[in-house]
Amino acid sequence: MKLITAVIKPHRLDEVKEALQAFGVHGMTVTEASGYGRQRGHTEVYRGAEYTVDLVPKVRVEILAEDADADQLIDVVVKAARTGKIGDGKVWCLPVDTAVRVRTGERGPDAL
């Protein structure tokens, strides 16, 4: 199995979720994150003191997938998350040794 992790812009989460659903994937785990990269942050002012904030909010999505689906899923996510502007994020894919569904103890593909 594979674990696909996508770090994307928060407002693309909905599109990604819908694209995954259309593909037939019905589960994912989402975490808040902040990203540092090419995309510049912004300036804040407090009583005349100016601060640069260089981390921007991102959303981190994890999807467990069967080996066979992984490549296609990556494409689905990348497409759904894309706005074409800097800061769209990264997707990476890791090999998974094993996966379990807590409720039933099922392992492997059945765990999804």
Partner: protein, 421 residues
Amino acid sequence: MEAANIAFVVISAAMVMLMTPGLAFFYGGMVRVKSALNMLMMSFISLGIISLLWVLYGFSLAFSGDSGGIIGDLEAAGFPQDIYLVDGELDGALLSFAVFQLMFAILTPALMSGALADRVKFASWALFITLWATVVYFPVAHWVWAEDGWLYDLGVIDFAGGTAVHINAGAGALGAVLVVGRRIGFKKEPMRPHNLPMVLLGAALLWFGWFGFNAGSELAPDGTSSLMALNTQVATGAAVVGWLAYERIRHGAFTTLGAASGAIAGLVAITPSGAHVNPMGAMLIGIVAGVACSWAVSLKFKLGYDDSLDVVGVHLVGGLIGTLMVGFLATQGRAGTEQFGKQALGAVSVMAYSFVVSYLLALLIQRTIGFRASEEEETGGLDLAYHAETGYDFSQAGSGSAGASNGVPAPVAADVKKVDA
């Protein structure tokens, strides 16, 4: 004179009104986030319901006529014009008194909500305060403040409501708690305040409004209301210091929650007594209230009843302290064993009546429509169960931000979809 009184009482009424939201924040900050809105609503609904009852029959039962010193009549039910028109003129004294007293009737049931935090059905709570106001508060207000009320006639000192409001609510809360039972996880799980600045905000609004409550109870701006105002501040300050000192010694820290709680304890204790003691007496009452209540709040862990936000420990105990201490500290020669006896009788009567009737009312509700929330509602949080809302959403996600350039990160759980308007 008349005009100054009305100005004083009307503004005091507004200040007392603000105490109920103040209470809502005081309590609301103390509960876990999943039931914070419910806690706020338990107070706010009192502002709604009791305002209606008051006009319909509450004012009448409390302050119109008398039956054996126990309760009023229904002559003023519906607040007909003839009770407030005197020779075709509006009777400002009566009208301002009516709105002032209405605020007390709203606050008192709301006080009990702290004891039942996080585990009762909202509609049942609304019914409970409706019944409670009717059979407990309106009569007790009559006993204590109506000219023919039996405690008033007895000479019990209860200037601004130590018995009628605080002992009454404290005992009622205890009665209801015994029926409703403990929160799931009581004594096992930590249930820490989700927002302490909100607790302090509530305490601040209560403190402010309490000047209207205490000084306003004189119904006239004079020496007595001035003394009451001074003593209110002194006792409250002393109770803050007392509670914090006790906590520092016993637990090694001056807590914010302790400061807020101490303030309320002091305010409660000075309520019945403040017009009849001198400032040094007020200070003493405050310190005793601060220390005693800060000790009393741990009783629930020992005795095992789950008075969640310590209505008993603060309002009942604080109310008793003020009501009893004034028996000995009253100025103008009133202090003494006899007065103390009267004070004790008044306190015990109200306590017993309220406790028993509240217990029975709660039981009635529990046996009929159910008082306690279901386990799933309770563990999932009452905010969603009854109010279909969540308190906060500091999230960015799903809010259509193209640039996503906000420094505050995004609790993504708030990924919501609109389906129906």
